[in-house]
């Protein structure tokens, strides 16, 4: 039913501008892969090449080992959820979901299939509703039902949740993932929302400047970023240069084999405590309450840049004030370094 997807050495220029350069990507059968990147990184272009809306200059797009480069979008057995859903406004929900079945002359009992799909996305009985009477979340579900109706081999999601409110977006993340798992369709999603990418994907692919920067599981990418760009792009980070003697001020870390590189310390790896605790002295320069966590900036005598610390709200006892002296300690089980960007 579902196929693995492979992109090999893909390059694409539009109007003389190079958009994609040697993009390589393997999406295992049935997995959920997210392309993540800043705007202009080429993630949407990659999706459009997969969909067949753009033809690459060079390279291959393989669905289950077969090159689909010359197949038009409609012959690639794709389901696509568009950013604004593209639910046909002059049709009912049922007619929308039936559309791919009729267009591709699939099966005979369309009514049953449409009902099943609407059941899957929890919109059972919505067949007769006009698309224009639906809420954003309902439109999203219809778009998913329509994309899955023709039993596609590959499902493409273009910023699938970006048009939803925060509350709904978080609820839909779990649900979308659950449906994808149930159907088992190979899924490639494009998003600029890190939380969405990290929490939904089996594999995250970070793109930058038309290239694949790194691909891996969310944990790998976050804990062991391969480049400075990646370390800065995913979440917040403190990057401490390792001095020629292997020291890494202000931490009591020795890393003689990593001189000149940058130590990656996430804000939640640092602990803040009363001045009588362990660690080294620091002064709080900024406090942001972020609901559940506190984001602190602290200045340390030896470090030119302030360090960012994220701590649980409950951890410190009370909220530190700007200017307060605290003790900073750290707590990590391994050291990870990246090379500074050129």
């Amino acid at each position: 039913m579902s196929l693995d997807v492979e992109i090999k050495d893909l390059s694409l220029s539009i109007g003389g501008t190079r958009i994609l350069t040697d993009v390589n990507l393997r999406v295992p059968q049935g997995s959920f892969v997210t392309l993540l990147g800043p705007s202009g990184s080429g993630k949407s272009t990659t999706l459009n090449v997969l969909a067949g809306f753009l033809t690459p200059d060079r390279g291959q797009v393989l669905f289950g080992g077969q090159d689909v480069k010359d197949l038009p979008p409609g012959a690639r057995q794709l389901g696509i959820v568009f950013q604004n859903y593209a639910i046909f406004p002059h049709m009912t929900v049922g007619e929308n979901v039936r559309f791919p079945l009729v267009a591709q002359r699939i099966g005979t009992d369309h009514g049953k299939r449409v009902a099943d799909m609407l059941e899957l996305v929890k919109l059972g009985g919505f067949e007769k509703r006009r698309a224009s009477t639906l809420s954003g979340g309902q439109l999203q579900r219809v778009a998913l039902a329509r994309a899955l109706a023709a039993r596609p081999q590959v499902l493409l999601l273009d910023e699938p949740l970006s048009a939803l409110d925060k509350q709904l977006r978080e609820a839909m993340q779990s649900e979308l993932k659950a449906i994808q798992r149930e159907v088992g369709v190979t899924t490639i999603s494009v998003t600029h929302d890190q939380a969405e990418a990290l929490s939904m994907s089996d594999l995250v692919v970070v793109m930058n400047g038309g290239r694949v920067e790194q691909a891996g599981t969310a944990e790998e990418m976050y804990c062991r970023p391969g480049t400075e760009f990646l370390a800065r792009f995913l979440g917040e980070v403190n990057l401490l240069p390792v001095a020629p003697d292997g020291s890494c001020r202000p931490l009591d870390v020795r890393a003689t084999d990593a001189t000149g590189r940058l130590l990656v310390i996430r804000p939640e790896d640092l602990r803040i405590g009363r001045t009588d605790g362990p660690g080294f002295d620091a002064t709080v320069t900024d406090v942001q309450f972020q609901g559940g966590t506190l984001r602190l900036e602290v200045s340390v005598p030896d470090s030119p840049l302030p360090l960012v610390v994220r701590s649980s709200y409950a951890g410190y006892g009370s909220v530190p004030r700007t200017g307060e002296k605290v003790r900073l300690s750290h707590d990590f089980s391994f050291l990870h370094f990246v090379d500074p960007a050129a």
């Binding site: 809306f53 696509i80 950013q83 046909f88 002059h90 559309f99 267009a103 023709a150």
Partner: protein, 275 residues
């Protein structure tokens, strides 16, 4: 509350500072309507000469229009010609709007071509059509006039449909094609239904435009089948009787009816898209 309502209220809030511009807008409206307000009352004169102000009130010149059958024949001829031309123009204009939307970059170059008829020298165009008709043996038929009027109506038809097209999210066509729909199914099941109000409006505008067209009608009407504006012109260049005013009044009434129909379709369309 929709965003449009808010927007409109924000602008309303600014209005109090700018009565000048609003006043100017109203004056312009009056200026456009005044010529109509002169001709129409003049048609109700009971005297024998066309004059402002009219000499008493009577339906005399309206009765005169329907007395002979030459005016009603001209009217029928006009309706037939402009309905046919409008239909041709809307068909071609819709095709063009659909086609050009698909080749946007190239379309940007082609688009001005559709404005050409608006700046076309009508007489030159009429002469050209007349010349083409002779070798084709069609110089005594309605075909040159129909073809010519269809061309002249084309901008209005094209612009109306293309305006609707530009408001249709291109993702609809992409979605249909990704679901395996042929281009034909995409046009027929997705794009044309979404454009149907623009197509109706475009037809009505093209019809109204063609109905009032004089120059082609004068040059290309076959003898005995001249259209109403052509007949009006011929009569007017001979003597200015109140009969002309009453015919004009009827034409204006028809035009206003068509304009109202356009308004209604736009209102309905706006209402539909807002819900």
């Amino acid at each position: 509350m929709s965003a449009t309502d808010l927007e409109s209220n924000l602008r309303r809030g600014m209005r109090r500072q700018r009565p000048w511009l609003v006043g100017a807008g109203l004056l312009i409206t009056v200026y456009l309507v005044v010529p109509m307000l002169i001709v129409v009352p003049a048609s109700f004169t009971s005297g024998s000469f066309l004059q402002v102000p009219p000499d008493g009130f009577s339906w005399r010149w309206y009765r005169a229009v329907f007395d002979g059958d030459d005016w009603t024949r001209a009217f029928a001829s006009s309706v037939r010609v402009s309905a046919t031309a409008a239909t041709a123009a809307i068909a071609v204009g819709t095709l063009a709007a659909l086609g050009l939307a698909r080749v946007r970059r190239f379309g940007r170059v082609l688009r001005p071509v559709f404005f050409l008829p608006m700046v076309l020298p009508y007489i030159v165009f009429a002469l050209g059509l007349g010349q083409v008709a002779i070798p084709l043996g069609m110089d005594d038929t309605l075909w040159p006039l129909l073809a010519g009027q269809a061309v002249l109506c084309l901008p209005i038809a094209f612009l109306t449909v293309a305006g609707g097209m530009s408001k249709i999210d291109p993702a609809y066509a992409r979605a249909a094609s990704s679901m395996g729909a042929s281009w034909w199914r995409t046009v027929w099941k997705v794009e044309l239904p979404l454009l149907r109000r623009n197509i109706l409006t475009g037809w009505l505008l093209a019809f109204a435009f063609g109905f009032d067209e004089v120059v082609l009608a004068l040059f290309l009407s076959p003898p005995g089948r001249e259209t109403l504006p052509a007949k009006l012109y011929t009569e007017a260049s001979q003597n200015v009787s109140p009969l002309l005013a009453s015919v004009s009044g009827l034409v204006v009434a028809l035009t206003v009816l068509v304009a109202l129909a356009v308004l209604v379709t736009r209102r309905v369309s706006a209402g539909g898209s807002r819900s």
